[in-house]
C-alpha cells in the first residue's frame, strides 16, 4: 500500500535508472562517471563537470532528516491527515537530498537530525516506492 492515496511517480527518461533500482530494492543515485559527483534529481549532464557520462551508483540508503512537516490540513477531500513529509539528506554527499515519507513513526517523535534508512514497497507492478524508517541501532554496535 502506498503511504498516501495519491498518484504515483511515472518514470521519465532521466529517472528510469532510479526506479529500476527501486524495483531491485536498491537505492541508486545518478553519479557522474567522470567526476563521481552524485546528482538528484537526475540530469542528462553532470552539473559539476558537464560530462554526459551518467551512471547509477548504489548508495547505503542511510541519511538524516534535514527538514520535515506534519500536514494537518487536507488538500483534497478524503486525504488522510495528519501525514508527514521529510527531506532526507543522504550520507554520501552533502546536500544530496530526497523528499519522502517516514513510515511507522509517530509524528511527535520526528526531529531534524534523526537517522533514517530507506525501505521499499512494491506498491504496483510498474513501480516500487521508496520510503524511510528510523534507523535502529544495530545490536553489534554499528549503525
Amino acid at each position: 500500500m502506498p503511504y498516501l492515496p495519491i498518484p504515483l511517480p511515472l518514470p521519465y527518461p532521466e529517472s528510469e535508472g532510479f526506479w529500476e533500482g527501486c524495483r531491485r530494492h536498491e537505492l541508486t543515485i545518478q553519479a557522474c562517471e567522470d567526476c563521481g559527483a552524485y546528482c538528484h534529481p537526475p540530469s542528462p549532464l553532470c552539473p559539476a563537470c558537464r560530462s554526459w557520462k551518467r551512471g547509477w551508483s548504489r548508495v547505503s540508503g542511510r541519511g538524516t532528516v534535514a527538514g520535515f512537516t506534519i500536514v494537518t490540513r487536507a488538500i483534497f477531500p478524503g486525504m488522510p491527515v495528519p501525514y508527514n513529509i521529510v527531506r532526507v539528506e543522504l550520507q554520501e554527499q552533502q546536500g544530496l537530498c530526497l523528499l519522502g515519507n517516514l513510515i511507522d513513526c509517530p509524528p511527535e517523535t520526528i526531529e531534524i537530525g534523526m537517522p533514517v534508512t530507506v525501505v521499499f514497497e512494491d506498491v504496483e507492478p510498474y513501480i516500487t516506492m521508496y520510503y524511510f524508517r528510523r534507523t535502529e541501532p544495530d545490536n553489534s554496535g554499528e549503525t
Binding site: 498518484p7 527538514g67 512537516t69 500536514v71 494537518t72 501525514y83 513529509i85 523528499l99
Partner: protein, 395 residues
C-alpha cells in the same frame, strides 16, 4: 556591464478592488486586467494607444491579443516572466530594459488573477491533475514531490520553516511578528481585504495549523484582483502627470540548487541563495546598502520566506531573522524597516507581488495608506525560494 540606474521610471499605477475565495469579485479575470491597466494609463496621464509594450507572468492567462483589441494597442514589445510569483519585479525589469533599448516607449507590467474563478494556487497539484489522470501517474520531476504528499506551496515552506526553527531557534512567535505587522498595516488600508479585521497574537496562534509549523495566518491569501504599473524613460516621465518614481535597479536571480520551482522547499543555511544573489545585483546596480532602505516590500507568500529574505538581503545575519522581527522593527510608523505597508499578500491581497510594487510606488509619491515619513528608497522583492527578481525604487 552596462547599468541603467535611474534611466527609467514608474509613471502610472492602477489596481482593482480585491476579493477572495469567500468574497469573490463578480467580474471576470480579464475584465479585472483591463480595469487595472486602464487605471494605470489614466493615472499616468497617458492614452491607451501610447502603450506599446506589455510584460506578463507565465501564470497569467489574460490574452495579450484580447487586451490589444480591447484597448486598441499596437504592441512592439511583449513577453512573459517565468516561475510564478518570482516574476513580478522581472516584468518591471524587462519593461525597463525595453524602454532603455528604445524597443518600446510605455510598457505595462500587470497581473490579474481570479483565484475564485480559476485555480487556487494553494492547490497547485490541481494544476497538474489533468496530467495525472491522462497518464495515470505523476509525470516528470514533480513526481519527486507530489507522490510523497508535497502538493502545495505551504507544505514546502513548512519544510523550510522546520529547518530554520531547528538550526536557529526561530519560533512561531517570530513568524507571528511578521503576520501581525502586516495585519496592522492592512487595518489602515481601505482596499485591503482584512481592513476591518484586526488580529491578535492569540488569533494567530489559534489559527488552524496548515502544515507544521505553519499556521493559516502564515500563508498568503487566495485573491481576486488586478494591479498594473507603467514604465517609461526618465525623460518622458518628466512630461507626465505624476511625480516620477525612479527605478534605481532591476534584477533577476536564478536558482542553482535542485530546483523545485513550485515547491518552495528552500534550504535556509545556503548563504549565497537566489535572494542573496539578487541582493548583490540590486545593491551593485543602485549603489545603496541595506541601511538606505526606508520601506521593504518583500514577497510574503509565507512568513518564513519573508524572514529568510530579510537575512538574504542583509538586513540581519543569516539565522538572525527571528530576533530581527522583534521590538516592532517591521511596523509602521516607528519601526526601522516598515514591511509591506499596505498589508502585503497576507492581509491586503495576493496579486503575485504587483500589489507590493504599487504600495512601494505610493510610498515614494507620499500617497500610501500607511505613509512612511520621508520615504526615499523602497526595495521590492518578488517571490523567493523560486527563481526570483527585485527592484529598488526611489523618489
Amino acid at each position: 556591464m552596462p547599468n541603467i540606474k535611474d534611466k527609467t521610471c514608474i509613471v502610472g499605477i492602477g489596481w482593482t478592488k480585491f476579493g477572495s475565495m469567500k468574497r469573490p469579485l463578480p467580474e471576470s479575470q480579464y475584465t479585472l486586467a483591463c480595469r487595472a491597466i486602464m487605471a494605470a494609463i489614466d493615472d499616468a496621464g497617458l492614452r491607451p494607444r501610447d502603450i506599446d509594450g506589455i510584460m506578463r507572468f507565465s501564470f497569467d492567462s489574460n490574452d495579450p491579443i484580447r487586451i490589444a483589441d480591447s484597448l486598441g494597442l499596437n504592441l512592439r514589445f511583449f513577453g512573459k516572466t517565468m516561475y510564478g510569483g518570482g516574476g513580478g519585479c522581472a516584468c518591471v525589469a524587462q519593461a525597463a530594459a525595453a524602454v532603455n533599448a528604445g524597443l518600446a516607449t510605455h510598457v505595462v507590467a500587470f497581473r490579474a488573477l481570479s483565484q475564485s474563478q480559476e485555480v487556487a494556487f494553494g492547490h497547485f497539484a490541481s494544476l497538474f491533475a489533468e496530467k495525472f489522470s491522462e497518464r495515470k501517474g505523476v509525470p516528470g520531476p514533480i513526481g519527486w514531490a507530489i507522490p510523497f504528499g508535497l502538493m502545495s506551496p505551504a507544505q514546502g515552506a513548512a519544510l523550510t520553516a522546520s529547518r530554520h526553527f531547528h538550526l536557529y531557534g526561530t519560533t512561531s512567535d517570530h513568524l507571528a511578528n511578521i503576520a501581525l505587522a502586516e495585519r496592522r498595516h492592512a487595518n489602515r488600508n481601505p482596499d485591503a481585504f482584512f481592513y476591518d479585521r484586526p488580529m491578535t497574537r492569540d488569533d494567530y496562534m489559534n489559527s488552524p495549523m496548515i502544515s507544521t509549523p505553519l499556521h493559516l495566518y502564515d500563508c498568503c491569501q487566495e485573491s481576486d484582483g488586478a494591479c498594473a504599473v507603467i514604465v517609461t524613460s526618465t525623460e518622458r516621465a518628466k512630461d507626465l502627470k505624476q511625480q516620477p518614481v525612479y527605478i534605481m535597479a532591476a534584477a533577476q536571480a536564478g536558482m542553482w540548487y535542485p530546483n523545485h520551482a513550485l515547491i518552495l522547499d528552500k534550504i535556509p543555511e545556503i548563504v549565497q541563495d537566489e535572494t542573496w544573489q539578487l541582493a548583490e545585483a540590486l545593491y551593485g546596480m543602485s549603489g545603496i546598502t541595506p541601511s538606505d532602505v526606508d520601506v521593504a516590500e518583500i514577497y510574503d507568500h509565507f512568513t518564513i520566506h519573508v524572514l529568510c529574505a530579510l537575512e538574504s538581503f542583509g538586513f540581519c545575519k543569516r539565522g538572525e531573522g527571528g530576533p530581527f522581527t522583534e521590538g516592532g522593527r517591521l511596523e509602521w510608523p516607528d519601526g526601522d524597516l516598515p514591511l509591506n505597508t499596505s498589508g502585503g499578500h497576507l492581509s491586503e491581497a495576493y496579486i503575485h507581488g504587483l500589489n507590493l510594487i504599487v504600495d512601494g510606488v505610493r510610498q515614494l509619491r507620499g500617497t500610501a495608506p500607511a505613509q512612511v515619513r520621508d520615504a526615499e528608497i523602497v526595495l521590492c522583492a518578488s517571490g523567493n525560494a523560486v527563481p526570483t527578481s527585485g527592484i529598488i525604487l526611489r523618489r
